[in-house]
């Protein structure tokens, strides 16, 4: 499916989606509540069939926390990027996509470990790299640790 049709398809599914200009892949910001339904639709539909989630990452953009989903279709060879954001730093939460793409189980645990973002209905949300009793979320920009980090 070419880029124009893909853009129209996403805008039909989620009218509130905001297109980001001048990016390497076709990129949309979608509202967090519509994430699971949109993702399911994009995977199940025959003419989009995004069955491969090749990167799931989280970032602290300062004002908001953002999670980025890089999707690809193995049959139709097109790529799409979905982003969701939240301004809530105390208890950020999104819906999980583990039931759609099984690779998300580990990636979402990593985002929870590093940034503190919870994923509702995740089968096993616990820290993956750091100890269970580690305090703080290292990849946040306001993370300081006088004991462990030696600044250059």
């Amino acid at each position: 499916m070419d880029l124009e049709k893909l853009k129209e398809r996403v805008l039909t599914l989620v009218p509130e989606a905001e297109l980001e200009e001048n990016k390497q892949f076709l990129t949309f910001f979608i509202p967090a509540g519509k994430l699971h339904a949109t993702a399911m639709q994009l995977k199940e539909d025959e003419d989009t069939s995004f069955d491969y989630l090749f990167c799931l990452s989280g970032t602290d953009m300062g004002k908001y926390l953002m999670v980025v989903y890089h999707l690809e279709s193995t049959k139709l060879n097109h790529t799409l990027v979905l982003k969701v954001k939240t301004g809530d730093r105390e208890a950020p939460a999104f819906d999980t996509v583990c039931d759609i793409w099984r690779t998300a189980e580990f990636h979402e645990r990593e985002i929870y470990d590093m940034l503190g973002i919870r994923f509702t209905h995740h089968p096993d949300l616990r820290r993956i790299f750091l100890d269970e009793n580690w305090v703080g979320y290292p990849l946040r920009k306001d993370y300081t640790d006088e004991v462990n980090i030696v600044e250059l």
Binding site: L130, P138, D145, N148, E151, L152
Partner: protein, 178 residues
């Protein structure tokens, strides 16, 4: 290592302070000869230095000819633990437990810049232990990132010279104190 450095016994003698009779030093020599020529390490490799350790065991730089004949998987049967690779905060208690499970006499070689002092991960890292000597006492430090196999062999030979300093009377004294 040059052979004359390896056989340099005067330097070793100045470290020895036993002053015991001829019989005990001969027994010491025999025991030390046995111990230093067959130190069996524990299979312990965390990261990249582990591959260089495996390469030292490979046919080109074969360290079985130095006495490191087999790797023992169980800490109870090992003599030396070669800490090859970075130690992080989550792994440090595991390393301490392994070291405690080894039986006397035991030695530690810190291989690679990460084990010596934290290495390339010294700055800006929240999870790395900067030097394995924060966790267990180290006998020989081998710098390098990663150290060449020849450097690891040099380090092992230094350890062999250090083992020759040990005496059985000191070991007996430790037991009496306990």
């Amino acid at each position: 290592m040059k052979e004359k450095d390896f056989r340099d016994n005067e330097t070793l003698e100045t470290f020895k302070r036993t002053g015991e009779g001829i019989l005990l030093t001969t027994i010491d020599d025999i025991i030390d000869w046995g111990r230093s020529n067959s130190i069996w390490p524990l299979t312990f490799a965390t990261s990249c230095c582990g591959i260089e350790m495996m390469a030292t065991g490979a046919p080109r730089h074969d360290f079985a000819r130095f006495g490191i004949e087999v790797y023992r998987a169980s800490p109870r049967q090992a003599d030396v633990i070669v800490v090859a690779g970075t130690i992080v905060n989550k792994m440090a208690p595991v390393l301490k437990r392994l070291y405690d499970q080894m039986s006397e006499p035991k030695y530690v070689i810190a291989m690679g810049a990460c084990a010596v002092s934290g290495g390339p991960f010294y700055y800006n890292c929240y999870h790395v232990v900067r030097g394995v000597d924060h966790v267990i006492p180290v006998d020989v430090y081998i710098p390098g990132c990663p150290p060449r196999p020849e450097a690891l062999l040099y380090g092992v030979m230094q350890l062999q010279r250090k083992i020759k300093l040990a005496t059985i009377t000191e070991a007996v004294k430790i037991q009496k104190v306990k």
